[in-house]
């Protein structure tokens, strides 16, 4: 895999004008600011993630301090430092920032840095998309920050329960902005999941079967799978919510049947997997660090992995344990109580495996070990208290109290504890310097005391109602302890920041492997690793890591420090290009032979994300699909348009930019052996899109069931326009098929005509739909008329948005084909077809459900 094709966006065909420009040649060094804006290298991106997430930790932490100050004593309205709405905003923003903008990205910083090394890959499959994930993440966080200044951010809690989440109750523009920020964040997560899954399944070194995959990589693999599906459901929830807030649909309004319940289903279908999404990487760090510092392979490794796989699957079948106090029926509550108890069993197995490993090994109490050991203790407490909550009867008592708050802080911040251990563990690898061990241990001591001082009293004071700053006065001493603990915990990070910051510059130089018994591949290369990770091709053919170098086998130990960063960007080509027997040897395209070696720089991910940021910021003040009157409204509208132009422009620029993905020889690729990276990525993306539409259709079916299925009339009184559109879409699918046939036959005009026909048909579909909507509007139907109309317009509207996106790509492809592209390499046409047919398939279900049944 050598050329642009890993950049799966149908736009990025690379064509055959191989522009030999300077990509990779003028890749700036790590000391240059420019480097950090253009880099697509996984290690750079990993560091960006870690640094950014720590920034959000501080932000979320300050909000937490404000809350703890307010809670120092029971307060009435207007007492304390926070006004009631400000308190609600602090609670909500704290939760959202910590869960979304700190915890997962922190973990994915490590994933970015370490996983390709552990796989034996030179980078992720789609390096530009990886940079894109980061920039979308950063800009989503900035957007969230902006929301504070637009009248106030969202104040309805991190779970965003309906109907509090609609403008009737949270009218501030900032509340909409916060929701849109989450939408942008989900975009980042989806891109990232597709990238990681493609990489981890397709780019493992020879001999590195899944069974042999290091445990940290295993947890990231499972996390990415959970993210792919869970965040698609969240995206459905958020898009519906955005539409309720901005366009005026009424899914979650008070008067809609079961609107509040609909939100809880959508949110928790995502939300429970999410708690494992944040916890699994921590588990991976625990396993890795335990193995290294006990000098022992984990006990029952196979079972440990099996347990994790089970948990990952089961995590999608327990969501209603967050809904025991809603009106769902008793049978379903019982069912979900059983699945919840079931899911705690594999966890027991994992905990025991870790404990046994410790008992059988010889422990070295370094800072990373102390942190993960502490994390294990905290997780045990958190897990046990969770089992209480999983019992329906007990939850009737505990729901909405500080018991829940204490439970999930023990598990989640327990996870953070392990990740902090991971930061110390990999710090020498990332910076090439050792941290100060004494300060590390001191950090742990203060952290651990602070943690328990903060969260344990919350169990004791469990009768405190959640999200409220008034409580029974006799609980005050416990809350005061907790507030003190909050400051101890927060301040302990100062020790860490000081230690790591200083050590990054003046710490002792770190050897390749500062930890005896660390066995994973990242420790076999220099600290920090060279730009392209390995000089030769890593292989596990003989059961251990070796590097193949044009035929000869060089043992790991013999390797001296590779050339560092910038030096390789020129020279790295030589070794890798010769061994570049690519997986696509069967596709000898013009550019393969002329490849210069992998690229490492592109500015477009940054620009694209900035554009998306502007679009969403511009849309934030919409209400009932209209901008506010006057200058302000005009300014917002202009922002939207400008953002749109930047977004589209950078998409095209990214498509045209010659960019070469990492060179790799296909090693272990189960279960996607022999399928091109780009195609695998496209299918993984489509699988998440299945869940997105599933969420929308699920919302429709659910609302209709609540309304009374047969009492619900389809909105269009006449199915014929819908039928005509079915014909049009089917025909356009057929022309896409013809386009691919023509491309494979190198039939240029056949290709251009078929693509052009597809484009025209797509326009026809939209025009027909526009006329139909126009007609319905004239009949007095609008998005907000009733929930029936809301579901019709929004679901078919989402589909139309997919059509529009497809048309943009079709137009691009047609123009490129006109100039002779895709005849040598038709993959872009093929991938576009996969997407287009999917959009067609969705319509095949929307049509009967919304027009005839």
């Amino acid at each position: 895999m050598t050329d642009a094709s890993p950049e799966r966006d149908a736009a990025a065909d690379g064509g055959h004008e191989v522009a030999h420009d300077d990509h990779g040649h003028d890749f700036p060094g790590t000391g240059s600011i420019k480097r950090w804006f253009v880099t697509t290298n996984h290690k750079d991106v990993g560091i960006l993630y870690i640094v950014t997430s720590l920034f959000f930790l501080v932000l979320g932490g300050v909000l937490a301090w404000l809350m703890r100050i307010q809670l120092f004593a029971p307060r009435g309205l207007g007492e304390g430092i926070l006004a009631p709405v400000a308190y609600n905003q602090a609670v909500s923003a704290h939760g959202l920032l910590m869960v979304f903008w700190f915890l997962s990205p922190f973990a994915f910083g490590f994933a970015n840095y370490v996983v390709p090394l552990q796989l034996g890959a030179k980078d992720l499959a789609f390096p530009r998309l990886n940079a894109l994930s980061y920039w979308l993440y950063l800009f989503s966080g900035i957007l969230f920050g902006v929301s504070f200044f637009q009248g106030g951010t969202f104040s309805g809690g991190w779970t965003m329960y309906a109907p509090l989440n609609v403008p009737t109750f949270t009218p501030d523009v900032g509340a909409s902005t916060a929701v849109l920020a989450l939408v942008l964040f989900v975009a980042s997560v989806t891109v990232s999941s597709v990238n990681f899954l493609t990489t981890m399944h397709r780019m493992r070194a020879e001999g590195l079967t899944l069974r042999n995959l290091p445990l940290f990589s295993w947890t990231i693999l499972l996390t990415a799978w959970m993210m792919l599906f869970a965040f698609a459901a969240l995206l459905a929830a958020l898009l519906v919510l955005s539409s309720d807030r901005l366009l005026g649909t009424t899914y979650f309004a008070m008067e809609s049947p079961a609107g509040a319940l609909l939100w809880t289903h959508l949110f928790w279908f995502f939300g429970h997997p999410e708690v494992y999404i944040v916890f699994f990487p921590a588990l991976g760090v625990m396993a890795e660090v335990f193995q290294t510092f006990t000098g022992r392979r984990i006990v029952g490794r196979k079972w440990f992995i099996l347990a994790m796989v089970l948990v990952a699957i089961q995590s999608f079948a327990v969501w209603m344990h967050h809904m025991f106090l809603t009106s769902i029926n008793l049978q379903v509550k019982t069912l979900f109580m059983i699945t919840t108890i079931g899911i705690s069993l594999p966890f027991d197995l994992m905990v025991f495996a870790l404990i046994y490993t410790m008992l059988k090994g010889k422990i070295r109490f370094t800072t990373p070990f102390l942190f993960v050991f502490g994390a294990l203790l905290l997780f045990i407490i958190g897990g046990i208290t969770g089992v209480f909550l999983g019992a329906v009867v007990l939850d009737y008592e505990f729901r909405g109290t500080y018991w829940v708050v204490a439970h999930f802080h023990y598990v989640m911040v327990g996870g953070v504890t392990a990740l902090v251990g991971g930061l110390y563990y990999w710090f020498p690898k990332m910076t090439g310097r050792m941290y100060d061990e004494f300060l590390g241990k001191l950090h742990f001591a203060v952290y651990f005391v602070g943690f328990n001082l903060l969260y344990f009293p919350l169990f004791v004071a469990w009768e405190t109602p959640r999200r409220v700053f008034d409580y029974a006065p006799e609980l005050a001493p416990w809350h005061q302890l907790a507030t003190v603990g909050g400051f101890v915990l927060g301040l302990s990070f100062l020790i860490m920041f000081y230690n790591l910051f200083k050590s990054a510059f003046v710490g002792d130089p770190a050897p390749d492997n500062p930890w005896e018994y660390a066995t994973t591949a990242e420790w076999a290369v220099s600290s920090p690793p060279p730009l392209e990770n390995f000089d030769g091709t890593p292989t596990y053919r003989n059961g251990h890591l070796e590097f193949l170098d044009t035929g000869e086998v060089a043992p790991t130990e013999g390797r001296s420090d590779g050339p560092t960063g910038a030096a390789v960007s020129d020279g790295g080509v030589t070794a890798s290009a010769t061994t570049a027997v690519t997986a696509d040897a069967e596709l000898p395209t013009a550019e393969v032979t002329e490849v210069e070696g992998p690229s490492h720089a592109s500015i477009w991910p940054f620009v694209l994300s900035a554009g998306a940021f502007l679009v969403l910021l511009g849309l934030s003040p919409l209400q009932d699909a209209a901008f506010p009157e006057g200058m302000v409204g005009a300014a917002y509208a202009t922002t939207t348009v400008a953002g749109g132009v930047v977004t589209l422009g950078s998409l095209v620029a990214m498509g045209l930019e010659p960019f070469h993905g990492p060179v790799f020889e296909e090693g272990e690729a189960w279960p996607f052996a022999g399928i091109d990276n780009g195609k695998v990525g496209m299918w993984i993306f489509l699988a998440s899109d299945v869940v997105l539409f599933g969420g929308f259709l699920g919302a429709y079916v659910f609302t209709r069931v609540a309304f009374g299925w047969t009492g619900w009339e389809p909105i269009p009184s006449d199915p014929i326009p819908g039928l005509v559109n079915t014909y049009i879409l089917l025909t356009s699918s057929f022309t896409v098929v013809l386009a691919l046939v023509a491309a494979e036959k190198k039939h240029k005009w056949g290709l251009v005509t078929s693509l052009g026909a597809t484009f025209v048909l797509g326009i026809g579909f939209l025009v027909n739909k526009g006329l139909e909507w126009q007609h319905l509007f004239h009949e007095g139907l609008w998005l907000s008329t009733n929930v029936r109309a809301s579901t019709f317009f929004l679901t078919t509207g989402l589909h139309a948005a997919h059509v529009i996106a497809g048309l943009v790509i079709a137009l691009y492809l047609t123009a490129r084909a006109w100039r002779g592209a895709y005849l040598e390499d038709s993959r872009s046409v093929e991938y576009f077809g996969l997407y287009w047919h999917f959009v067609d398939i969705v319509w095949l279900f929307l049509f009967p459900l919304f027009y005839i049944l």
Binding site: V680, W683, A687, S688, L730, I841, L844, F845
Partner: protein
């Protein structure tokens, strides 16, 4: 792999079956019978498009399973949520 002729035949089948769906609606069947027939027709069409136009039939089975997993997740959400109301 697949000849243009077969593609064309599939296209015709899809076209006709979309028409049949609307005819079924007007055929005066009971609501739930018509519902069943129409959804089965939709599913059949979807399978045809996926199998031939997206050539899943000729790819390693893993891609089909991948989409299947997404489908199962979506159905689990829809069905369990709807059931919880009853």
């Amino acid at each position: 792999m697949v000849s243009t002729k077969l593609y064309t035949a599939i296209y015709v089948v899809l076209f006709v079956s979309a028409t049949v769906q609307v005819l079924v609606e007007f055929a005066g069947l009971s609501y739930w019978l018509a519902f069943g027939v129409i959804m089965v027709l939709s599913a059949a069409k979807a399978v045809l498009v996926a199998a031939y136009f997206q050539h899943l039939r000729f790819e390693p089975r893993s891609l089909t399973y991948l989409v299947g997993i997404g489908l199962v997740a979506a159905l689990a959400l829809t069905l369990a949520a709807s059931y919880s109301l009853l």
